[in-house]
Symmetry: C2
């Protein structure tokens, strides 16, 4: 994003002001807003549907979906019964705070609940954009190899939780999960690291517990 510097201070200052306003709004209503980030195809939406099925009926829930094109993800979320708004970014490579603010107008009140914001699949650009979230969850699928944290450190450094996803495929891969976890811990020492599979259910109790703790928190 070398262009970012050229955008001018005004636009960035405006974005940061909106992010602060979003955060104040979430905190004021006791809403945990989670910014969910990963490469394309790491399984963010699938994991989200599993978590929503576990949390539904226990607290207000909603989802904001970011994608370059299509509203397929929002449709998958709505099929779980949870309200979802899709932001189609066109050529845009990340979500921005003003889009999140505008999307909130299309969602029911969430006092005491959880808002999941699924960012555009991208390990680079979303790292630099504060949406006003209360926590960042970064997914890395085991199929992507061990070196992703090293090659895309900016994003991993900002993680509050790293989910090492698609663990059901581990037997068929050459990936060393311990080494991958170590890379994540080195970049984000205070982040939790959970190995998980949306298929087998491995790690989902731990992720659910992390979300509940963080919401109380």
């Amino acid at each position: 994003m070398p262009e970012r510097l050229a955008v001018g201070v005004d636009v960035l200052a405006e974005h940061d002001a909106v992010a602060r306003a979003n955060r104040a709004r979430f905190e004021g209503a006791g809403v945990l807003a989670i910014n969910l980030l990963s490469s394309p195809g790491s399984g963010k939406t699938t994991l989200l549907t599993r978590l929503l099925a576990r949390l539904r009926g226990r607290m207000p829930l909603a989802v904001i979906e970011g994608d370059q094109q299509t509203s397929r993800d929002a449709e998958r979320i709505r099929a779980t019964g949870v309200p979802a708004v899709q932001i189609v970014t066109g050529t845009g490579c990340h979500l921005e705070a003003p889009s999140v603010r505008d999307a909130l107008a299309h969602l029911p009140p969430l006092s005491g609940g959880v808002l999941f914001i699924e960012n555009v699949g991208n390990l680079v650009c979303p790292a630099a954009f504060d949406l006003g979230e209360g926590a960042r969850v970064v997914l890395a699928a085991l199929t992507e190899g061990e070196d992703k944290p090293l090659k895309y450190p900016h994003l991993f450094r900002t993680a509050d939780l790293v989910v090492l996803h698609k663990s059901d495929l581990a037997p068929y891969l050459d990936v060393d999960v311990e080494r991958l976890s170590g890379h994540c811990r080195a970049l984000a020492p205070s982040a939790a690291v959970i190995v998980a599979s949306s298929r087998t259910g491995e790690g989902l109790d731990a992720i659910e517990g992390w979300v509940l703790d963080r919401r109380r928190g």
Copy 2:
């Protein structure tokens, strides 16, 4: 990349002029320059090492590697005996024509050969940046699911070849390869689509043949 519009016409015009100069230089020397693009972790570097092992000794070869951080990929390429230059983009999300021009100064002459340019792992931003390449190869790992072309159409539309990679994992996935191929063909009707595995060797003959054909022009 909404910022792109704000960068100002001068910078973009300069990039495009450098891309044109790169292309003229490649064409003048009979060099096929291939821009290799995918999500992080789709297996670009691994596929590249397989192709280099097949092509080495038959023509001049070189690789330019783009990554946010680390020179791991260039080291993996050099281990094959092929010269490689790493461009570390820092917070940058894509390669640009001037970096490619500058990297060429560190590589041997390539007359009649092939230059592989492995872009930053990103399905969004690199789509809009012409490096002066003669062909674009887009990788999509089967592990990323069927809908990536639909969700990131801008990049897939520019492909001359789509490689559906990691086919060895197909038995353990729910992906419908025919449907995925169909999405690619709908977006890039003149592109070749090859199902491949760097592990089992499936499709590597076809990719090698495609590169050789393309080099002959």
